[in-house]
Subunit: 518 residues, 2 copies
Amino acid sequence: MSNPAPKPRARAGGRMARRSLRAMTDSTMLPGLVNSLPHCEVMDGAQVERIDNASMDILENVGVVFRDDIALADWRRVGADVRGERVHLDRGLVRELIKTIPSDFTYHARNPAHNVRLGGRHAIFVPMTGAPFLRDLDDVRRNPTLDDLAMFHKLSHMSPALHSSAHHIVEPYDHPISQRHLRITYSSMKHSDKTFMGMTTSPKNAEDVMEMCAVLFGEDFLETHPVTTGNCNGNSPLVWDETMLGAMRAFCRRNQPVLCSPFVLGGANTPASVAPAVAQLNAEALSALAYTQVIRKGCPAIYGHYLSSVSMKSGAPMAGTPEISLMNFMIGQMARFYGVPWRTSNTLGGAKTFDAQAGYESATTLSAVMHAGANYIWHSAGWNEAGMHCSVAKFVVDAEQCAMAYRMAEGPRWDDFDQAIAAVSDIGPGGHYLGHPHTQENFQRAFFLPELFDNNSIEQWMAEGSQEITARALTHARKLLQDYEEPKLDEAKNEALLDYIARREREIPAADALNQEF
Amino acid sequence: MSNPAPKPRARAGGRMARRSLRAMTDSTMLPGLVNSLPHCEVMDGAQVERIDNASMDILENVGVVFRDDIALADWRRVGADVRGERVHLDRGLVRELIKTIPSDFTYHARNPAHNVRLGGRHAIFVPMTGAPFLRDLDDVRRNPTLDDLAMFHKLSHMSPALHSSAHHIVEPYDHPISQRHLRITYSSMKHSDKTFMGMTTSPKNAEDVMEMCAVLFGEDFLETHPVTTGNCNGNSPLVWDETMLGAMRAFCRRNQPVLCSPFVLGGANTPASVAPAVAQLNAEALSALAYTQVIRKGCPAIYGHYLSSVSMKSGAPMAGTPEISLMNFMIGQMARFYGVPWRTSNTLGGAKTFDAQAGYESATTLSAVMHAGANYIWHSAGWNEAGMHCSVAKFVVDAEQCAMAYRMAEGPRWDDFDQAIAAVSDIGPGGHYLGHPHTQENFQRAFFLPELFDNNSIEQWMAEGSQEITARALTHARKLLQDYEEPKLDEAKNEALLDYIARREREIPAADALNQEF
């Protein structure tokens, strides 16, 4: 990707500079985004309170099912009204509990230069996860392996606007399910020194992730510094299950943040209407956010969700629709109302190939989440076919799109304004600016140059082989992988991690159920 | 397109309703959009004034070239400081002149049900124009004919979210250049009863458009009602030429609005920086807006622009970039500062085919212009290859995307909120909503169903022929053309229009220069 970094570079003018620009592939990570765009707020204060009030009514009167004995005992202990599996939460208790969730925190990477902040205007881009298929470097759709997963971790590392290598971007089928979380976690840690995610596919798997984090960062460091994030999906409407709650406890006890993510199929497991769906989702998210503080007061936590609307024609989940954008705007308002960092999903969509549908869906959602002011922007690269595959071509294009959104969210610069206005006088009517000193000094950072968009004439495009974006993106991905340099793990830590994995692989039977998360 | 209309439909539940939904293709035009989204304002008040001040300094001290003797005489008459071709405009004079531009007005169609408002929160979608090539119903790239133009006018008529049939969507090469404007205007008038644009390719051509409008609407009606819009491009930096100024006078004298559109190639004919480029563009737009009021005080006029940034690597114009989005946000702020309706360009992009690049570029710009609060959203369907071709497939997909953006810009509805929240109690934890009365009553309007996005499983998609969006869109376009019914012109008016064209074609020699506009 040429010139994605927003920071001023050294001055260099003319042909020499253009030549060096052409050769440059800068994979330096962009700092965590500070999103300066005004929030798109589609609700007034009274409407925000109406959602809050409806959610609190649901929590008090309908209640939330916690299918987990430990959680039920925890809720009883803090005075909730527990009837069977159903927990009725008083709004006073909920507000009291969520008050201790930090409004922002630093998410630590093994390379401290790659630490990022989350919350308020601070945001990060995280690649997609969970794909049972990939479209590979030849655009062939097939089941992924650990090598494929490593490839995506490398591409994450090489993409300036991605702030994380996530975890199981693709599901590595060449390793036993029950042991996969160990290899996935190791792959994230080894191939990138950015932040990464932790598997929550079972409470025990989550414990393993915590142990590996303790090896990498040190037990004490972990206690006081968030170093990973785990996702916990709710079963909408209004159910949290044992697997997710157990994983949540594993993370929160070690002070590691989870994403509390109701899984919304709008119209199927929520009312068929935007505002009431948000009210239900909000109740669900609040119930889990509150529980994180029952587990450990002050532990960071993230307001999550997975959003799709259901086609009432075919039953299929849909993304990139106007209602998804509206729900993002509204959820952003609710999360800010409670002062909790929030997660969204970025490039969700249903296209089967990397065609124009995929482009529209992804760009529509990316724009929406930027204007919504999301903090943890997950599924930011590679997602296609409703999450069934991760596409290499789409991965690198999405990553560049995130860099473009990043640039937009920085807003215009003003430091060169007077100098540039003086240039208007110098040039005068009918002139051109290419040779002016201001242009020479500023062209490298003035306008983003998308590496993967072709803006040449059709004649030049044909002369270069009439390649559509998929082909160009795959060539680019190959080049990134060629240029990749592994950010080496400390040798002792690497040994310790491998020892841990070896021990656990001896202990864990090589067969188990496959759990997916979104 | 299924279910694009925002208005509530008759209640109908269950399988019957789903069946009727499947068959329905509703081509009823959506009313002019009332964009309820908050404006994305990336400048504070002081920054808006800084742009205003810089633009006024440019107008006073650098001046603007009007390459046209009549305009120079007009400017002298109103007291401007004219030195040769360069007109220095005092900020007091500029502010005084633009004060009389209406902040909003009704744009009349021959079918009064298709009248639309422009200005404030009122916005319209207008298809692309000016393409020298098309990609046709077989996705073949070739030169267009009058029949192709008629096809695009029919598709405009059939697309609910398009509020105009524009004018020369494609350039009809099978008719002499010098007479084309007559056939183009007639095609717009005949194949659709929505609003249309008027050609400004020369002052005389513009006069012909005015005469044809007088035939269609009546001479007196024209005097007091905007019935068409003409685009006048500036030559940035700071030049307006005789052709555009002559066409502007033809329109304004008859009280018809023009779009005052500086043609920005950011970095080539503006400073290489976003804010100063906006300051220059703003000065250019203001100079032409002021001139419309010199021509006729109180005539409606539109703040325009054509925006691209130039790749400093290859010299190619670029679209869909972060700077284009930022400039849209800023231009919106400036137009609102002056209280003038404003035009933007929607789906600009450089892809050579309807691939994912085209999707990203189009959706990014569509989102930006919605959040920017643009009023006259031109080039909203079909644009590809930097405007070199209009794609049939992309045309119908873009039109559906506009319908989706329209839905988003309406914001969430609240009228069913309490009823839907009651449904949450009815269903309770772990239930599903598909059979609930609220769902049955609301599913048709709850979530937009994009007709041209495929959200089915890959197995079903393969069973249906593994069609990417281009193939599906072309099938859809064929169906729209099959279903098309001509909104008949009044017979006497039709005769009078044909007589006018026949007379003018006898008078105009069949050879002339080709003028393009953007």
